[in-house]
Symmetry: C2
Amino acid sequence: MSARRYLEDFAVGEIIRGGALRVEPAAIKEFAAKFDPQVFHLDEEAAKDTFFDGLAASGWHTAAMTMRLIVETLPLAGGVIGAGGTIAWPKPLRPGTTLSVAIEILEIRPSRSRPERGMLKMKCTTHEDSGEVVQTLVADLVVPRRPG
Amino acid sequence: MSARRYLEDFAVGEIIRGGALRVEPAAIKEFAAKFDPQVFHLDEEAAKDTFFDGLAASGWHTAAMTMRLIVETLPLAGGVIGAGGTIAWPKPLRPGTTLSVAIEILEIRPSRSRPERGMLKMKCTTHEDSGEVVQTLVADLVVPRRPG
């Protein structure tokens, strides 16, 4: 957070890149055991007979790892605070890859009712080390305006 | 999975309810330390001076806990497999409450190219024990059709 950024510090079209985060099979299974206990996220052998044809991370695990990368990549004044968004997982995330993110600024909207803040719409694309996209997230973030 | 359901076994407008899942402060902090390490998810005292005015769960933690409840509530043949969706967090989730879900079936669409499966669009609403909504998720699930 050494150079925290306010709403005024972004430009539409700007792309900010960050990462890396290694995806280990143990982490996939640990997340799944807690939050998404289904065989294709828990057991390599048993996963072969499922829709996924092998072990794959829970989409919500991909989302959580992506959030980690966003927090490390976007030094927002006030922190990374999302109101919601639209998420898609175009392909299964397999263990043994390393994730990175590309965050594109889509819209910057100062609030009419709250002069001290605004909304930043961003598209965060989560890539494997092969370059393939495992998640897209378009989200609205609450971002403070520069004081004074 | 004792009474697994296929695409044909659902009706538009049907609502399926499930839960409960208790939200403890330690779980909020543990998830945040791993995936969303920001002060308002990590420390009660420091969180008071933030946007959230106190400790609140990461939205992705709410999503992950909701997935746990969906997996326990929807006995889908083939498992609960999502392609993506739209998520919103209308209010902060505080520790000390118990979550439950209400899953409404919005659309049932057999696949044209894949006769063995189809898409189920659902809206999952995550409630606190007070009844207040902490998350809505509209998602498309891949669901097998009944064989034969």
